[in-house]
Symmetry: C2
Subunit: 346 residues, 2 copies
Amino acid sequence: MTTIKELAKACGVSVATVSNILNNKGGASEETKQKVLKAAKEMNYTPNIVAKNLKMRNTRSIGVIAEDMTIFSIPDIIDGITQQCEEADYHILLTNLRLFKKHEDTYYHKQDYYEDVHKEIRKLQSKQVEGIIYISAHERVIKCIPEDIRIPAVMAYGYSDTAKIPSIVVDDEEGAYQLVSHLAAMGHKQIGVITGKKDSLHMQARLEGFQRALFDNSILFNPKFCMTGDWNRESGYSNTDALIDQGVTAIFCMNDVMAGGVYDRLEERGLKVGEDISIVGFDNREVSSYYKPPLTTTTLPLHDIGYKASEVMMGLLAHEELPEKEGIYKVPCEFLLRKSVGEVNE
Amino acid sequence: MTTIKELAKACGVSVATVSNILNNKGGASEETKQKVLKAAKEMNYTPNIVAKNLKMRNTRSIGVIAEDMTIFSIPDIIDGITQQCEEADYHILLTNLRLFKKHEDTYYHKQDYYEDVHKEIRKLQSKQVEGIIYISAHERVIKCIPEDIRIPAVMAYGYSDTAKIPSIVVDDEEGAYQLVSHLAAMGHKQIGVITGKKDSLHMQARLEGFQRALFDNSILFNPKFCMTGDWNRESGYSNTDALIDQGVTAIFCMNDVMAGGVYDRLEERGLKVGEDISIVGFDNREVSSYYKPPLTTTTLPLHDIGYKASEVMMGLLAHEELPEKEGIYKVPCEFLLRKSVGEVNE
DNA sequence: TTGTATGCGTTATCAT
DNA sequence: ATGATAACGCATACAA
C-alpha cells in the first residue's frame, strides 16, 4: 500500500505538502500539485482512513444494531438509514444480533439478551463509531441501551423509555384512525376489530385510533365487536364467525396476515369481501395486494423510520436542539385504497 | 475517553506494562496486574480499536456491498454472512447500493453502475477492510469488481466470471431435478414447464435440471410443453391454458410467484390443484405456504450462500488452497414436500 | 510555497 | 518484572 511518505519521497517533497495537496488545502504551487497528483494516480495511492481517523479523532461511521435481519421490518429500516447516511457521508458498521434465530419468537419478552447488546455496544464504541442506532424487530419498550452511554443513541421502531435516547416509531394511532374513518365514510356503523396481542404497543395505539374514529363518527364502541387476535393468520380465521354472527358489516384487522385468515373463513361461508363484508388490514405486507380482492390497508413506514432515525442521529452528532422534547418521533403511515371495502347497503 | 497512557499514569506503571496486561501477554506480577485491571474497570477503559488497527495493520473487518437491501434475496444472504463473521470474529462494513430504488428494475442489464461500485470498493479499501463480498440481487454474470483488486473478493449469488473471485451460487439445476423427479415419481409423464425470463441463468440451469429429470425417467422432452414466463404472477396465469389444453397433468413453475398465477387460472377453470393438476414451484417464498393447497417447492438457500461466501472469504484471507478450482460453489436447495402434487390417475 | 516536528492510541522491540 | 522508545499513516502548528 502506497503511503503519503512514499509519495513524498517519489516526488521529492515533504509529507506535509503531499497531505495539503491531497486535501485541497491550497498553498501549493500548481507545478508541485500536478506532480503529486500524477504520482498519486500512478502509484495507485489509497488514503488510509484508519490512520486519518486516529489523527482526526472521528470516523464518520455509526453502528447499527439490528435484532434480526431476517424479520421483514428490518431491511427496509436499514435501507432508510443507509440512504440518509449516504447523503450525510457516514458509513455503517452493521451488527446483526440474530435474536430470532437464537431465541425463537420469545426473546422480546425476556431481557436475557441485554447483556449481549451491551457487549456489542462496547465493541462498536471500541471501533469509535460516533453513534448507535438500535433497530427493533417489533415495536415495544426496550431498555437494552445503557443510559450512561457516552455517544448518541437512537431507537428505531421501538421505545427507549428515555428522552435522552430518541425513539422513532410508527404513528399507529393515526394509521388506524384513517382506516376506520374510511369504513365509516363508506357507511359502515357495525365495525368489528380483530386485534393483535394485548401486550403489543402497536395493538394499543391502533385500538386508540379505532376508538377515536368511532367517536368522531358518533358510533358507539361495542366491546363485543372487539376480538383478541395474536397477529397470526389462524386468529383472523377463528375470530371471523363471532363477528359475522353479531352482524358486523366491516372488520378492521390489525394486520394483513390476520386479514388473510378472515378472507379464508369468509370464502368458506360464501361471503364476498368488498360486497357482503368489508375488510381493512394494516402493514401493507407484499401478499395483501394478491388477496382477492386486493386488501385496503396502510403502509408501515419502515423506510421512513430508518431515514428519520438517521436524521435524528445526525442532529445529535451536530449537538442540535432536537424538535421533539419528549424524544418520540411518530412517522406517518400511508393509506392504501384497494378493493376490499364496499359501500354499506341500508 | 480513557487511554492506556492515562491508565499507566494512574497506576504508576508504564504503557508497555498496561498493554501487556490488557492483552494477557504475561510477564507481569499478579499484584500490578490486579492493580491495572481494577483501574481499567474503574476508569471505564475502552480500547481504541482504530489505533490498534493502525498499529497491527489489520482490521478484522470485511466490506459487504449489497445491490439493494429491500430485495427479498439480500437480507437472508447478509444474515448468513453475519453469522459466519461472528464465528470468525470479523465485523461488517455495509454498503447498500440501492440499485433497485435508483434505477428501477432495469439496472442489471446495464453497467452504468459499475463506476459507482468501483467508487464504493475504493472507499472500503481506504477503510482497510480485508476483503469484499458483493451480493447480487439476481443471479447473473457481474463484472463490477475490478480484476486487479488488491484484496480478496467473493461474489455471492452471482457469477464473477473469473476464478480469482469465487462465485457462490444456487444449485438450480439440482433443485429443479429434484422437483421434476418428484413429479415423475408420482406418475406424471405429461409435464409442462413455465420458465423465467430467457436471459436468466436461474432459468437456464432450472431448465437443464428439468430436462435431466425427464431423461432419467425416459420421458420425452416436448418443446410445446415449455412456456416462457417472466417470473411475474401474470405470466403464470396467462400460460396456464395452453398447457392444460395440451393435456399436461403437472406443471413445473420456475418460481412460486408464477405458480400463484397458475393457481388463479386453475381455480377459474374449476380445476383442483393436487388432484386434477399437480404444481411445483421454486424459491419457497413465504406466500407459497399459504396457497391452497400449500405449494410443493424448494428453498433458495440464501442464508447458506451468505454463510458459504463468508467461509470462502476466510479461506482467502488465510491464503488457503480453495477446494473449487473453477471458483464456483453451488449451494444445494432443500426440497419442500407440501400438498400441490397428487398421484396421476392412469 | 515548502519542510520539520509532534501526536493521535496502540503494540512491540529491546533494554534494564 | 518493568520501562523507554519507535513505529503504524496521517494532519497540522509552526518554522523557514
